[in-house]
């Protein structure tokens, strides 16, 4: 299989095999729009299952319990505050978490004693927490400020690095797509949104852009001096770049997802609710979506945007016209050939960074062997 994969990578690199990702960009746009709309739908209808950090309230964690039955906890809370409907969850192997609305200091002490009694543990094993309702708001406000500052900075850095604001714009649109879909999927799964989740969402920012930068770097390399040749269009070169980085994208995504899925697995099945589980779910979804969008959304978007530039627009037209002329010529000489033959005659190249005056010369000469 590894061999097949390597072979596949070779074919992608040389252009022998090429997926029409840029060519079929409309299809991917539709997919992206549908996903984003669905995510919004989930957010509007289902909404977030906000954690205690955002709701505010009191929390008790009973550790070192011998049985993780939840009923004693519910009874213990009902004893002290009958109106309360506590949320009881199991955390890890031997701990119970009980969340209630905000209780008074006396009630907290009573509930703590009741819980210690119900699970026959000492009072030291019951920890209490109180979270004010504005704490979570504070966190999310900071997160949103961070988001805006980050986007502005990244837009600036990318514009400088690629010397083209359209690339930065495409990357940022893809980023929004990732973020919204990740948030939507998280809401759909229905796990609690905690500050850890917010951390996860924020990390996706960096990761998604990171992924896109790697692909765009190849696009830039492939389209360097594009206007000096008339063999392929910008879109074709960009498409080649995506195909050439496909193996890298897959390897990277797998490598990045493996540790995250390890945390997710352990978090979800062994630890239960908690920082690790929440952060890893957000990351897992975000990284997967980010890898997808860097290939299927960012580059097509970039091509769409770049093709609006007059120079590139004109160039594309020129290439296509020339190709049509060559094809017609070839068809004449072979006596009515098919499209394929005509195209072959036109010498459409998938691979090869053909640039006039740069692909030959001393670089094409064999190098002196060392060590022999």
């Amino acid at each position: 299989m590894a061999q097949g994969f390597a072979q596949w990578g070779n074919d992608l690199y040389t252009g022998r095999k090429s997926y029409q990702i840029v060519g079929n960009r409309r299809r991917f746009y539709i997919v992206a729009i549908v996903m984003v709309v669905l995510s919004f739908g989930v957010l509007l209808t289902k909404g977030f299952n906000l954690g205690i950090d955002f709701r505010g309230g009191s929390e008790f964690v009973v550790s070192n319990v011998t049985e993780t039955d939840q009923q004693p906890a519910i009874d213990a809370v009902a004893e002290v505050a009958p109106a309360e409907v506590p949320r009881v969850t199991t955390v890890g192997g031997a701990a119970i978490r009980v969340q209630t609305d905000r209780l008074t200091a006396d009630e907290v002490t009573e509930v703590r004693d009741a819980l210690a009694g119900a699970y026959s543990v000492t009072e030291d094993d019951v920890t209490t927490a109180f979270i004010g309702p504005s704490w979570g708001k504070d966190v999310s406000q900071k997160a949103i400020t961070g988001l805006i500052v980050f986007l502005a900075l990244v837009g600036l850095v990318m514009t400088i690095y690629f010397r083209n604001w359209r690339m930065a714009a495409a990357a940022l649109i893809a980023l929004f797509h990732d973020l919204i879909i990740t948030v939507g999927i998280y809401a759909a799964i229905g796990w609690e949104v905690t500050p850890a989740t917010v951390i996860g969402f924020l990390t996706i920012l960096g990761y998604s852009i990171y992924d896109t930068v790697v692909v765009f770097d190849k696009v830039r390399e492939n389209t360097h001096g594009i206007l000096d040749q008339t063999r392929s269009t910008y879109a074709e070169r960009a498409n080649l770049a995506v195909n050439q980085t496909l193996v890298r994208s897959i390897n990277t995504s797998v490598v990045a997802l493996l540790p995250v899925s390890a945390i997710l697995f352990i978090g979800a099945f062994l630890l239960g609710a908690g920082t690790l589980r929440d952060i890893s779910l957000a990351l897992f979804v975000g990284m997967a979506v980010g890898a997808y969008s860097s290939i299927f959304l960012a580059t097509p978007l970039e091509v769409t945007l770049r093709e609006r530039e007059p120079a590139i627009k004109e160039h594309t037209k020129k290439v296509l016209e020339k190709r049509a002329a060559l094809a017609a010529q070839a068809a004449e000489s072979t006596g009515g050939a098919t499209d394929d033959a005509a195209l072959a005659a036109a010498g459409v190249q998938g691979a090869g960074q053909l640039q006039p005056g740069s692909h030959q010369g001393v670089k094409a000469q064999p190098r002196r062997k060392r060590g022999h």
């Binding site: 061999q3 060519g23 094993d125 797998v254 049509a324």
Partner: protein, 586 residues
């Protein structure tokens, strides 16, 4: 190698630290891993803005209270406008109350001063005992307020005991107060509150000037009162100047402790006082800050108060580390599978990165008191993927260059040239994200951003100082240069294209030196057979006429391809003018 020196220096300093200082070989753990209580307070000013200085002052007040209550290693930091107090273990309710309480600044007249140590016997002659205990004192400085009970309390008070320097005591404004100086150097009996700190409108420190405006060269603290304060201060000073020492002094009481007790020398009518004495720049600034803090009494709103049990924290840490180990193992397996022997370079690089990360975290937890938190651990685990990606980008570039027919040596150099740029750009973006998160976020987000930024930097160090040099070395070994199938850099498997080698010879570089590997060994459907000989017809597995393969076609090949295509019926999907001829529709 620089890297070896770097690592050596890192661990040598840590080792030296453990030997001669208080560094340790395990990183400090944050509350969520170690267990403890975290209280997040938002200071709220009754009026005006909460400035950074007042928050700093509030932190000092809280620290003073916590430290003297006997809790060690409390962590009190400000995060934006919030104050985060971390207390290890399970602190008592009294300690928690101390933290939550707001601090106030008040002016009280001094009735008497004493040495900080408790006095056993009868009061010394200096403090006159007033037998006739009038209920209503004539004025706030009336020594009649020192009742036997107050005197007894004063005698018993031991200001050398840190317990008595906690502050935050019951501070009845109308009753006399027996208390200590905040540094424990003296004890006082003070009259009732005369002026509230809120009546200070401004305090600043600077060089004192004579009435002629000439600098005296002494540090002083300038104090300004608002209208009410001016009135009250005038009354107080008028009364105090005529009194004998120590009754001519008034005490500045912050949080129940005397921070300063200047003597009134003149009647101050304009509400602008100057406190002079043995100040230096720091102490003058400190007092000015404290006075300013007093002018804005903050009340603390408890945002959250969390107790984290130590067992739960350690369970999370343990499971998190297990997850990290599993993740690392999976990455190792995958990269060995994908890159064969080259995967070992990945593994070694990841290993070095891990060692460096551990070292730096140790160093930071020793020098700046960094504590590793659970989100921080998550950040490190996530970084495994990002670090490994740098190697993947690099290796894929080398492979690309090999496919173009370079020798390994030049492929490594050329690939590095290109990969370096990509790695730098993408790491810059990542680092940017970490920095923005660190400075704008609160709580756990910070710990996460910190490790993320740290590992990004370490990633750069490792790639530049380890992975690339190692690749350069490896490229010289026979195993890799000849493209052994297990090296992961086998040009045949990578389908290196033929290239014109001059003088009519065609060389398949990378494989040229490899006589004992005949072309027959070539795996999978003859990827580098000359296209002219290829028997791939239209409609073959590729789904479209596979005319030109490889990167360059001769004229003859092109004609042949055209002919072949013409012969076969055009059953294929006619590629659009825009598409590549080998397209495979998705």
């Amino acid at each position: 190698m620089t890297l070896a020196v770097l690592i050596l220096a890192l661990f040598a300093s840590i080792f030296a630290g453990t030997k001669w200082s208080d560094a340790s070989t395990t990183p400090g753990l944050a509350l969520d891993l170690e267990g403890g209580t975290q209280i997040i307070l938002t200071p709220i000013a009754s009026e005006g803005e909460v400035t950074d200085e007042t928050i700093q002052q509030a932190i000092n007040v809280i620290r003073q209270r916590v430290d003297s209550s006997g809790v060690t290693e409390a962590e009190i930091t400000s995060q934006g406008k919030n104050i985060v107090v971390g207390l290890p273990g399970t602190p008592s309710d009294e300690t928690l109350d101390l933290v939550r309480k707001s601090a106030q600044m008040r002016f009280r007249p001094v009735l008497t001063v004493g040495a900080p140590t408790p006095v056993e016997s009868e009061t010394p002659a200096e403090a006159p005992a007033e037998p006739e205990t009038p209920v209503v004192p004539a004025n706030p400085s009336d020594l009649a307020q020192i009742t036997p009970a107050v005197q007894a309390e004063f005698d018993a008070l031991d200001c050398t005991d840190p317990k008595n320097l906690t502050g935050g005591l019951g501070d009845e404004p109308d009753a006399p107060l027996v208390t200590c100086a905040d540094d424990g150097s003296a004890k006082y009996i003070l009259g009732p509150v005369e002026i509230e700190g809120t009546e200070i409108s401004n305090a600043s420190s600077g060089m004192g000037t004579t009435p002629q405006g000439v600098s005296t060269g002494q540090w002083v603290v300038n104090l300004e009162f608002n209208n009410e304060g001016t009135e009250a201060f005038k009354d107080t000073t008028t009364r105090l100047v005529s009194l004998p020492s120590p009754q001519n002094a008034f005490a500045l009481v912050l949080d129940g402790l005397v921070i300063s007790a200047p003597t009134a020398n003149d009647v101050i009518t304009d509400g602008k006082a100057e406190i002079s004495g043995s100040f230096n720049r720091e102490s003058a600034a400190l007092l000015a800050n404290q006075l300013n803090f007093g002018s804005l009494p903050l009340t603390f709103e408890v945002q959250s108060e969390q107790q984290i049990s130590a067992t739960l924290g350690s369970e999370q840490l343990e499971k998190g580390l297990i997850a990290g180990a599993i993740g690392l193992l999976l990455v190792v397996i995958y990269s060995l599978f994908q890159y064969r022997a080259l995967g070992l370079v990945t593994v070694a690089s990841l290993g070095i990165a891990a060692v460096l990360t551990f070292g730096v975290i140790l160093l930071l937890s020793w020098t700046i008191g960094y504590r590793l938190s659970l989100p921080g651990v998550a950040g490190i685990i996530v970084a495994i993927g990002i670090t490994a990606d740098s190697f993947i980008v690099y290796f894929e570039r080398i492979r690309d260059e090999l496919r173009d027919g370079r020798t390994l040596n030049s492929a490594v150099e050329k690939g590095w040239d290109r990969a370096r740029r990509t790695i730098l750009a993408s790491d810059a973006v990542n680092f940017l994200a970490a920095v923005v998160l660190y400075f704008l976020a609160v709580g756990g987000v910070r710990g996460f951003a910190f490790t993320l930024g740290l590992t990004t930097l370490i990633d750069l160090i490792v790639v530049f100082m380890f992975t690339h040099p190692v690749m350069q070395l490896l490229a010289r070994t026979k195993f890799f240069a000849n493209g052994h199938p297990a090296s992961g850099l086998d040009p045949r498997r990578l389908g290196a294209t033929t290239r014109y080698a001059g003088r009519g010879r065609v060389s398949r570089s990378g494989a040229t030196a490899d006589q004992d590997a005949p072309t027959v060994d070539a795996p999978v459907d003859e990827p580098f057979d000359r296209p002219a000989r290829e028997k791939v017809g239209a409609g073959a597995s590729l789904g479209a006429a596979s005319a030109g393969e490889g990167s360059r076609m001769t004229i003859a090949e092109r004609r042949a391809a055209a002919r072949r295509a013409a012969e076969s019926d055009a059953t294929t999907t006619g590629s659009s003018t825009e598409g590549d001829k080998n397209e495979e529709n998705l």
